[in-house]
Amino acid sequence: MKMLTDEQIFDILDGCATKEILSHHRNLLSVSAEYKTYFEDLEAINLDLLALPIEKPSIQFTENLLVNIAYAQVKKKSWSSQLTWIFLTIMSVFFVGTISLALFYFSNSNSAIEIPKVNNLNVINTFSTEILVKVLILVNLIVLLAIFDKKVLKPFFLNKKMRLS
């Protein structure tokens, strides 16, 4: 009689063998002592594996992890706030540098540059003094509102929603 393969035996042990294999397996059990021993060996190992305990980590596992998470969050936060400061510092350095350079060259220069007077370009003058200023004010207002919404309103309502739920 033909023996079953290891895969077929494991299918029997996992409870997913076909009816054909199962009936063949029963026949083999009654006929072949060799097969019976082999099957029982694999069955014992399967039972041993099923009985293997779930291991437990140390008692402080959760606490240690929560501390690490809190630390990682603080670290992340401090880095992002540093980025703002780095940006502001660089901008200030550029600003001071430009003013210093302008003052330096202005005080050392003896030549006078004659700026031509343009009287015909009233449109440009109107644009640069009235329309441009209005547009810039509007853009600034929109940016300010967006920042206010993101930093103040959104966290406030999110917090309220969380507390209500």
């Binding site: 190992i45 293997l52 291991e55 980590p57 596992f61 959760t62 690490n68 998470i69 969380m162």
Partner: protein, 176 residues
């Protein structure tokens, strides 16, 4: 505050399984704990990118599985856990009955045999016997097809059976 309690609940729900997977692959409690902790940290760092359509456990075990395998490759010197040594076993179970002793001996033998298998084989067996995961989920974790996963699990169990036979033979030889 809300985040903290949610994290705590998530950790308590999954820590044992995560630790078990890591421990079976690494055979060292300290390393396994470190790997499980790192996996949780990775998970919390990437929670926003987690695809809600997929199962959390599958995603999480993939992180644990990969981290444990990476650690295993890093550990060139094989370390044996003191708790699993035969001397510790004798001290711990010296007052047990004959039946208990036999059961514990078998448990020790199977753990020893598992340690002698490759990390891949141990991981497949561990994931399969966690009872939490289907064959498809194991396939997703290990990034292979379900059919390949099934074959790999069968082969790993066969190798484990051979290893057990070898160990028991050695034990009989040492008694003679």
């Amino acid at each position: 505050m809300g985040d903290k309690s949610a994290y705590k609940e998530l950790i308590n729900r999954h820590k044992d399984y995560a630790f078990t997977v890591a421990y079976r692959i690494l055979n060292n409690r300290e390393d396994a704990e470190e790997v499980a902790q790192d996996a949780f940290m990775q998970v919390f760092g990437a929670l926003s990118s987690f695809n809600a359509d997929s199962k959390f456990t599958t995603w999480f075990y993939r992180i644990v599985f990969n981290a444990a395998l990476m650690q295993k490759r890093k550990n060139k010197v094989e370390s044996v856990d003191i708790q699993n040594s035969s001397e510790a076993f004798l001290v711990m179970h010296s007052s047990d009955s004959a039946e208990d002793l036999q059961k514990n001996e078998r448990k020790m033998a199977i753990q020893k045999a598992l340690r002698n298998l490759s990390a891949d084989d141990t991981a497949m067996i561990t994931l399969f016997y966690l009872k939490e995961l289907s064959l498809e989920e194991i396939a997703e974790i290990t990034k292979i097809s379900a059919e390949t996963a099934k074959v790999k699990i069968h082969r790993a169990r066969k190798r484990l059976a051979d290893e057990m036979k070898k160990l028991l033979k050695d034990e009989v030889k040492s008694l003679l």
